[in-house]
Each structure stands twice: as structure tokens, then as C-alpha cells.
Symmetry: C2
Subunit: 347 residues, 2 copies
Amino acid sequence: MAVTIRDIAKRSGVSLATVSRVLNDSGYVKDETRKKVMDAIKELNYTPSAIARSLTKKKTNIIGVLVPDINNPYFGELIKGISNSIDEANFNMILCDTDENMKKEVKALKLLREQRSEGIIITPTSAEDTFNSEYLSVLENLGIPIVLVAGDVKYSSFNGVFVDNIKGAFEATQALIKEGHQKIGIITGRLNSKPAKDRLMGYKKALTINDIPIDEKNIYYGDYRLESGYKCAKQLLKMENRPTAVFTCGYLMTLGTIKAIYEEGMKIPEDISLISFDKVEVLSMLGQNISYVAEDTVEMGKIAVKMLLDNLSSKESEEVKRITLAPKLVLNGSEKYASKNRKINNI
Amino acid sequence: MAVTIRDIAKRSGVSLATVSRVLNDSGYVKDETRKKVMDAIKELNYTPSAIARSLTKKKTNIIGVLVPDINNPYFGELIKGISNSIDEANFNMILCDTDENMKKEVKALKLLREQRSEGIIITPTSAEDTFNSEYLSVLENLGIPIVLVAGDVKYSSFNGVFVDNIKGAFEATQALIKEGHQKIGIITGRLNSKPAKDRLMGYKKALTINDIPIDEKNIYYGDYRLESGYKCAKQLLKMENRPTAVFTCGYLMTLGTIKAIYEEGMKIPEDISLISFDKVEVLSMLGQNISYVAEDTVEMGKIAVKMLLDNLSSKESEEVKRITLAPKLVLNGSEKYASKNRKINNI
DNA sequence: ATGAAAGCGCTAACAT
DNA sequence: ATGTTAGCGCTTTCAT
């Protein structure tokens, strides 16, 4: 990349300023001159340096995006929404996979700061949900506008787009109860995770409202990973007086649960009913329809970017903006209280 | 980000050069001075600007990565391998989703050039496989080292890591034949895609070697997307004298095919046998074991990064390095020629 | 062991 | 309509 604006200037017999003008379409340039410059650019195969430009303009047009795991389809969708919006706004994205790992997240934040990214969109690692003063201090002293997506950071007040987890869990549980289920299991995340806590709360709320006693034995705590869903489900299925339905609180945990159910030779909803928080698209393909609480991840991504851009343009908006989207319950059969299931459980 | 090296210098009562020295651990600095500087950095919450640094050093430590679709688990895995290696080498990654879209790919390349990324790893969009002089010229005039992964670019000779598609397809087909299958369908990609062509070639080779005539009616052309796999499979399943086995040539097309099979109320391998190119992990979870040709994507990613870094350090390596990995056939039952399937087809 | 100054590639006043 | 010049924040000789 040896060729610079200086070479173009020399080649076309004009000054640096003129080249810069045609590059940026700013100021007056005679058509003839413009052509000469353009030709030189073509001939020398020149591309301006974003680095140099950023330095002078004090503007990088870079937005950093942090997610815990690109391979989780949930975040995959989120990223699509975010990256499309960033593209449209003519910004560039630096995407970092924090690997559900706080150290990596902090490292990524440092990187984004060094690169002078103008804003950051974060889905905090769930491990962060517990109070961590060092982490919080990093975040708050970053000096870069932050927008949270889907996950909150305790004791902080960043802008963000969230999902009403309580409502989603409440409606899912409610739907199961309406079907006649009385013993309902839940596989949620660790309690230091806000979404996990909220989902559990929604679940409890539904039970309480319907005068169903809360049985701690029906509550399982995973960590959003597949394996944990599998293990919890295994235990749940082996209970002496096992639930007739289960509410799983995350994409991968749902998958793990289904793995366990299939492994036990059971069917949904014939042997056990299920509702999942998050759509598991691949299942419907395989003829296994699962009812689910739908988050509009693409929409969330869009909103997050919009928030950030608004924030960037109007320097003075000191007010904290937090939007909570209502998830949508989609029922398609897996919540049914099948007669077979009833019979087994009425023995 | 108002605070600069100048502020640190002032605050600690030393010169810019000295601050730079402690920042980079270069040259001699008295311990006492170092401490003063470090303190100032802490106090002012200073982070050096990678932008400015890149400009002076003419080195950005950025590697660009282009994939056609982050949401495709195949690329997801690839990215993990790549990003881990990039991290380890203390480089930074700019990841671009080209959306299976040539325009976007070219745009992304331009971006990476502007950002002065030092090397680029590309999985070319399959649409690119057909000869396209403009695209090729962009690629070749980029002036940035390129390493190809998994997909080749016609009439070019970039370094790259590839998979032996012929071998993989040959072995898969061979396995089906060994099971007794004589009528074997294939769902491959468009023929302007090299992998698709190679996989078809491996398939034909296996048939030929076993004296099985090639029947064009058993060959279906999709486009690697789920929907195309579904449609091809639908047609295939409705054939009058349909194949007893099918070889699907890509992750999403396999999923589409399975969707069609299930929709027709058929089972694998009871009603039809199947081998997939690429592992479809989610299926085994659901109790559906599918035999597959395994590519070691994580390994490919690692190798690609290594190639690129080698290339960057030893300026003079003019020789083209191309590595082709042999895929591994993993059988776990879906290739079986079940008696039910035999009977149906022997009517 | 530390400082002064030039320069990386570009933009944006200010001049002409 | 075009040119000159002073930075942007940093590193790196070259002095001292």
C-alpha cells in the first residue's frame, strides 16, 4: 500500500487539497481537474487510508459488537439484524466473540477502545450478571456510548433493548396450566442471571395466580448450555412424580432437554409437554413442533443500532433509554396435555 | 477520548518520547520515571490510539475474514477456528458477512483495504465460482495477501486450504453401494460451483467403478440453501422409481432433504438411506443419526491463519501454497439398506 | 536516561 | 478553483 494521496497529486499535477476534494466530493473542483485526478487514482489503483482519515477527522465510523457466542443461533440472528443496520448507516462493524468469558469480554472492550470505536453494542456474558465491580468500572470508564442488548448489567444504567422475560415466562406457564398441567417443571439459568431470575419469576407468578403450590423440586438450574439442559432434563425425567410438562428457558437448553426426552424414548407431547423460551427452528423441520416464546431478535438488533446512532449524533442526550419488548407466545402443539401423558401420571 | 500521549507527558513531567517508551517497553526508562508515567496513565484513564499507532508504524495488525453466512453452522465453526488463531497471534479480526452476495463481498474487500488490513481470509461466495473477470481483478489487485478457505476462485492461484471433495463424495457413495444400494440419488450444488462439481464427480466415479450406470434423473442441483435441498428432495421422493438412498452435498441441503423426508412420513434409513456431506450435529441430539463426510473446519481455520501469518512474515515467499485436507467418512447407520426399503423397492 | 523533531496519510482552515 | 499549511496521536531516529 505504498501509494498515497501525495502520489496521486504528483501524477495528476495538482495539490493534495484538490485530490482530497475530489475524494470527498467537497468544495469546488473543475470537471477537467476531477477527471485527471480520477484517472490517476485508477491508474495507480489507489484506495484512501481509513486510518489516516480517522486520525484527522477524529471519527472512525466503527461500531463494536460483543456477543457471547456466534455459534448460538440466537446470537446469530441478533448479529444479522445489527450488522444490516450498521451497514445501512455506513458504519463498519468489529464483531467480537466473548466466548461466555469475562476476561475475553474485557479484552475485547480494550481492543475496541484502542481502535477508537464510536459505540459498542453488548450482549453481556451471562456470567457477568453477578455483581462485579471491576467489570462495571471497566464498562463505565470506557468513555464510549454503550447499548445493551438482551442482557442487563447489574447496578448499571446503560441504554438498552431488553425482552420482558417475566411476561414471556408467565404466558408460557399460563398456557401449560390452561392445558390442565399441574406439575410443571422449569429449566432455567443460574440465579445470578437476570433473565434466568425473571423467567423463573414469571413461572412462579403463573403458578401462584392459579393457586398451584410452588415445588422447588420442579425447578432446575442450568447455565444456558446444551449440556446443562440435557442433565437437568435427565434428572427431571427420572423424578418419581415427574412433571407432566416442562418449560425450558433458552435455545440450547431446550435442545438438550429434547435430547434427553428422546433418549428416554419419550415423545412430545404424548409423554411430556414442553414450551421453550426461544424458537428452535431446526426442530420444526424435523417434524417436531415446539411451542415457544418468541423474541424478535432481528428487531432488537435494529433498535439497538438506532439507539446507538441517535446517541452518537445528539451528544447531549443524558437520559437513559431502555426499551423492553414484549415477547410473543407461539403455540403449536407441544404444550398439549395428551391423554397418554395424563394416564401415565394418574396411575 | 480527549486524553492523548501529550497529556500523559505533561502530567508526569516527561517528554512524549519517554511516555512512548514505557508504553512500548522499548529503550531505557528509569524505574522511577516509569512509575510516574504509569500513574499518570491510570489517573487519566488513558488508552493509546491504535489508529495513530497504525499510521506511524504502517502496521494495523488487522486480518479480515469474509464468510458467506455467519448463521450457517458450517461457517460458524470455521470462524471459531480462525478467530482463536488470530487472537493467539495478537492480531485483530474484522469479520464480514458477505451474505452469499458478490456485491457485498466486493464492498467488504474495499472496506478491508481502506482499513489497511494486513491479510484476508476468504470463503468465496459460491456464486463467485463462475468466471467473473471483474471480481477476479478486484481480488488480484487488492495488494493484500489472501488465503482461501474451503472454496476456490476460478482461474486464480491464491494460497488456500481446501477439502478433497472428490474423495469425500466418492467414499460416501462407495459406502452406499457397499450396502447394496444401486439407485442412489445426489443433491449437489450448481455446477458453476467447484465443490459441487467435485462432489458430483466423486459420486460418478464411485458408480462407474462399480459398474452402475449413471442416471441423470437421479442428479439434482440445489444451491446450498435449505429450501433448495427441500425442493430437490421432494422431487426425488416422488420419482416413480425413486432411489433407495440419497447423498446430500451440504449442511443446509441435508436439513432440507430431511424435512422433505419427514414430511412424506418416511424414516431414515427404514424408507430411504442418506449420507450427508458435512455433519449435522443437531440431528443426533434428536435421535436421528446421520452418516456424514466430516470436514475438520476448525482445523482448516487454524491452517488458514497460519498460512497467512507465514505469508506476512516472510515477504519473499512467492510460491503458492495450497493444502487439501482429506475429509473423513463417519458412518452411523443412516446409510443402511433396510429390509423395509428393499421390499418397497423390489415390488 | 531523556528530549526534540520529523513524519506516517489525510483533512480543513486559510490564502490566493 | 486551487494551493499552502497546520495539525490529528503516535513512533523513531538523532542529539544530548
